[in-house]
């Protein structure tokens, strides 16, 4: 292989990393470099330093150490049988690149993953070395996300957790059958086993820190995972259930959904066309319903179409749920408990919080609610206020045309010639 300069390597290794959806830099402990030693800081809230035209946030320098891989997973652009150009960064190159981007305020930190070379342990050692060098040689206080290798030695994985803010292992596919078919060398049980061990380590150190202030921090931003949507037979209902199990069993911070997208030099096993990007969006919305709106998994699944198990693409899952369970509405904004207000389409957690605070002092009118929401027209059929009762609306057999978003015509090209 001809020698590649850093920019050429970056082109290859960033390209290879872009199929990981996560770019979060949030939820870690607060650090600064105000002591004048080293560089970097983290706040609770992450920062997106740029956005790519694919709508994804660019918060971290997201690269692979190498895109050579001994595995042959069909959905992956880096699989052994793929014809992509291969490249490999040295640990030092990654460290320098991270620091020079960070100093110019391009990024919050580093998200480092890798294809598997030689062995799982060897690969993991390389990843840990980059994190170690950043933290110990350069006193880097920014964000580090390390992908861990399921089969690597637990001691190495533990070290990764000590340097990194977040660690992740991808479950890749929502069904066991899908994983066996598309990633024959990966083992679902081993992936989940590794996530279980990670959870135990995170809980242990968090526990130790409540007793000893000097106990080391271990992956303070927790662990996350990713599922590919649309490459196997899983329905939205199955994906939602799988995500919910993962949250429960492994205490994950986030489950990312990545709509399968065509890759260069695709394996013939993969579908040619991508699933609609809206499907990914609807899954994120249902994820939100479970995490922030008190919906149970069964309720979210109930919003899906019974025959196909798919969430509707033309409206959000909360609205779909509300239209299916019309008997739960209208909800009185002046009396209903928080849990019921959360169920009203068009009322977000913030609006609900504001309603709860305001109604302690006075009864709310429709105008008041209108000031707290984006579109009162959408909310109106589902609520009762001091001066509003959806009498006629509630009797309408078909609410859908009133509240469902209008189907947009084909989006115009922004930069059309």
């Amino acid at each position: 292989m001809a020698q590649l300069d850093v920019r050429q390597k970056l082109e290859i290794l960033a390209d290879a990393a872009k199929y990981d959806a996560s770019c979060a830099s949030s939820g870690t402990s607060k650090r600064t470099s105000a002591d004048g030693k080293g560089i970097g800081s983290t706040e609770g809230m992450g920062i997106c330093h740029a956005y790519a035209p694919d709508g994804r946030c660019i918060s971290l320098l997201k690269i692979l150490l190498t895109n050579s891989c001994v595995f042959d997973c069909h959905y992956c652009i880096n699989r052994k049988s793929s014809n992509v150009r291969r490249a490999r960064f040295s640990a030092q190159e990654v460290v320098n690149l991270t620091l020079s981007f960070y100093r110019r305020n391009y990024i919050e930190g580093l998200f480092l993953s890798s294809g598997i070379i030689k062995s799982s342990n060897y690969t993991m050692e390389q990843l840990v070395e980059v994190a170690r060098s950043l933290r110990e040689d350069h006193h880097f206080r920014g964000y580090i996300h390390l992908k861990t290798i399921p089969d690597a030695d637990p001691e190495l994985v533990h070290q990764a957790g000590l340097y990194a803010d977040r660690v992740s292992i991808n479950v890749e596919l929502p069904t066991v059958g899908g994983l066996r078919r598309l990633a024959p060398e990966k083992d679902g049980a081993r992936i989940e086993g590794a996530m279980g061990e990670m959870k135990a380590a995170i809980t242990d150190t968090a526990d130790a820190r409540t007793r000893y202030k000097s106990a080391p921090r271990f992956a303070p931003a927790g662990q996350s995972t990713q599922m590919i949507v649309g490459a196997d037979a899983a329905t939205d209902g199955e994906i939602v259930r799988k995500a919910s199990t993962l949250y429960d069993r492994f205490g994950l911070r986030r489950v990312y959904y990545s709509a399968f997208s065509p890759i260069p030099d695709a394996s013939a096993v993969l579908p040619l066309q991508r699933p609609p990007l809206m499907r990914e969006h609807r899954l994120y919305q249902s994820d939100w319903l479970m995490r922030f709106y008190g919906f149970s998994t069964d309720e979210v699944v109930a919003a899906a179409d019974e025959a196909t198990g798919m969430l509707p693409l033309d409206m959000d899952p909360k609205l779909a749920w509300a239209l299916k369970f019309r008997d739960r509405f209208p909800v009185d904004v002046n009396r209903a408990p928080r849990e019921l207000l959360w169920r009203v389409p068009g009322l977000g957690t913030k609006a609900v919080k504001s309603i709860l605070a305001a109604r302690r002092w006075r009864r709310l009118r429709l105008d008041d609610v209108a000031r707290l929401t984006v579109s009162i027209a959408r909310v109106r059929p589902f609520i009762v206020c001091e001066d509003w009762r959806p009498v006629v609306l509630a009797d309408r057999a078909e609410l859908r045309p009133l509240v469902a978003p209008k189907v947009k015509t084909q989006q115009l090209e922004l930069f059309a010639a």
């Binding site: 920019r7 970056l10 960033a14 872009k18 199929y19 600064t32 470099s33 105000a34 002591d35 560089i39 800081s41 809230m45 920062i47 997106c48 330093h49 740029a50 956005y51 790519a52 035209p53 694919d54 994804r56 946030c57 042959d72 069909h74 049988s81 100093r103 110019r104 305020n105 391009y106 059958g177 066996r180 078919r181 598309l182 024959p184 060398e185 709509a259 997208s261 065509p262 890759i263 260069p264 030099d265 695709a266 394996s267 013939a268 993969l270 579908p271 040619l272 504001s354 309603i355 605070a357 305001a358 302690r360 002092w361 006075r362 709310l364 105008d367 000031r371 989006q411 930069f415 010639a417």
Partner: protein, 469 residues
């Protein structure tokens, strides 16, 4: 009319002191004019000429206690560019005397308006932290980092601590049209307003950064709306990477369809584990419950043949014998099929043979199980498997045996009589041929018709085989 003159557009402390004095003097909000320096911030400021009256308030009066929530709100909202901000805040403070719980009433129009101001300021603060781009310059003391930034509101001073905490060991300057900040590694200094020309032109690392920006973009998913919502155009001019956006978008469509065409052209490989993937698919199918046919049937009858076969045959569904054997085309129709294949010069072992529906559908009649035609729902449910087989094999030629197979492959009803004898295109672009199902030949009562139909069947197979080239 009282005129309050604040020293700077972000003089929150000045506003707070003045507001405290005004409250103590019981000055109503409509009797106050707020201005920054010499510039009026209020339409009525001009009418309020004359020196401000001396404060009259009684220093001994107990200071009003203000809720913490209001101070947080005021600290942000006061930085907004809206000239009315100070007046609005004083109006709210005035009302807080009588209604201390006003901060909880987010639906109140005034509170809402001030909260909107504060939100806009918080966003601008956040975006400044995100979108400031330093450029490196060298001077006698080493490296220094300089940025030019144009915020929407008066947030630069309020944001200084963030940059100090993050880049404490670097020497840096942030230049803006209102004020400039300089950090020398130990202390923060303020400088006068700057111009874009005061900042350095470029930085070699920017090219590396642009390389990263272009490479991390996935051309198969374009979401311009999301990008613009989070990274509005007003910030673009000071962000080097945004220059690439038009070009990235212009080529995205072509890049995505290029990937699909390439996959279609079968240049891509299945890889070492095509067989493993096929076995996994078969195992997955053996537990299939996508339709109710699995209940009475003995087992799933999956396709059979080498995974690198160039020719794929799709029949209707397994029959009685196939259901027991677990293999496709082994019953009477299978024997006709084998004979016809041989006559057409095709080796069955080199082809892949499967069925559109993979469970035996039948009606029990005494001790016998009589074949029943699968309905549209069952074909649709099973189509997923056939599609997977098709994707895995990517055969050069697919042959649909009978109407059920044709329906499954083309996704719509096809008339055999009209479509047979010529090459057709599958929805995914592959070549396909349609002919009768071999069991049709068994059912013909007339000997002569059976012979001539058999010849036609063989001829169809021969043509499809010839299409392999």
């Amino acid at each position: 009319m009282r005129v309050v003159t604040l020293s700077a557009p972000d003089d929150v402390d000045g506003w707070r002191d003045a507001a405290r004095g005004l409250l103590a003097d019981h000055v109503a909000p409509d009797a106050v004019v707020w201005q920054v320096g010499d510039a009026a911030t209020d339409l009525f400021a001009a009418t309020a000429a004359g020196p401000p009256p001396a404060p009259r308030h009684d220093a001994a009066a107990p200071a009003m206690r203000v809720p913490r929530a209001f101070l947080d709100l005021a600290n942000n909202a006061a930085l907004h560019q809206d000239p009315e901000r100070f007046a609005l805040l004083y109006a709210m403070l005035w009302r807080l005397r009588a209604t201390p719980r006003l901060t909880d009433d987010h639906a109140d129009p005034l509170v809402r308006r001030i909260e909107t101001l504060a939100k806009s300021v918080r966003r601008d603060i956040h975006k400044m932290r995100a979108f400031v781009r330093f450029r490196s310059v060298s001077d006698d003391a080493g490296e220094r980092y300089v940025a030019w930034f144009e915020p929407e509101h008066h947030i630069v001073r309020a944001n200084a601590a963030f940059f100090v905490n993050r880049f404490a060991s670097m020497r840096w300057s942030i230049l803006t049209p209102e004020v400039s900040l300089h950090w020398d590694g130990a202390a923060l200094q303020e400088g006068p307003a700057a111009e874009r020309g005061d900042a350095p032109e470029g930085d070699p690392i920017e090219e590396v950064w642009k390389t990263y920006y272009a490479s991390i973009f996935n051309p198969a998913r374009v979401k311009v709306g999301t990008m613009l919502r989070e990274m509005p155009r007003k910030y673009w001019k000071n962000m080097p990477e945004t220059a690439l956006v038009p070009q990235l978008l212009a080529t995205a469509q072509a890049r995505e369809s290029g990937m699909i065409d390439k996959a279609r052209a079968r240049e891509s490989t299945v890889g070492d584990n095509a067989r493993a993937a096929w076995e996994a698919l078969r195992d997955e199918a053996s537990a299939c419950t996508r339709c109710h046919l699995y209940k009475p049937a003995t087992q799933t009858v999956f396709g059979e043949g080498p995974v690198d076969a160039t020719m794929m045959f799709v029949g209707e569904q397994p029959g009685d014998q196939e259901d027991l054997a677990g293999q496709p085309f082994v019953g009477p129709a299978g024997q006709v099929f084998d004979r016809a294949l041989a006559a057409a010069g095709i080796t069955r072992a080199e082809t892949y043979v499967t069925n559109a529906v993979k469970h035996f559908k039948f009606e029990p009649r005494g001790k016998r199980r009589i074949h029943a035609k699968p309905d549209a729902g069952e074909i649709e449910a099973c189509r997923w498997w056939t599609e997977q087989e098709q994707m895995l094999l990517r055969p050069k030629v697919t042959v649909a045996l009978g109407a059920t197979a044709a329906r499954s492959l083309f996704g719509k009803v096809m008339t055999i009589g009209r479509e047979r004898g010529r090459e057709l295109r599958l929805p995914d672009g592959g070549a396909a041929w349609i002919t009768v199902h071999p069991s049709y030949l068994l059912r013909l009562p007339d000997e002569a018709a059976r012979a001539s139909e058999y010849e036609r069947f063989v001829e169809d197979l021969r043509m499809a085989h010839a299409a392999l080239g």
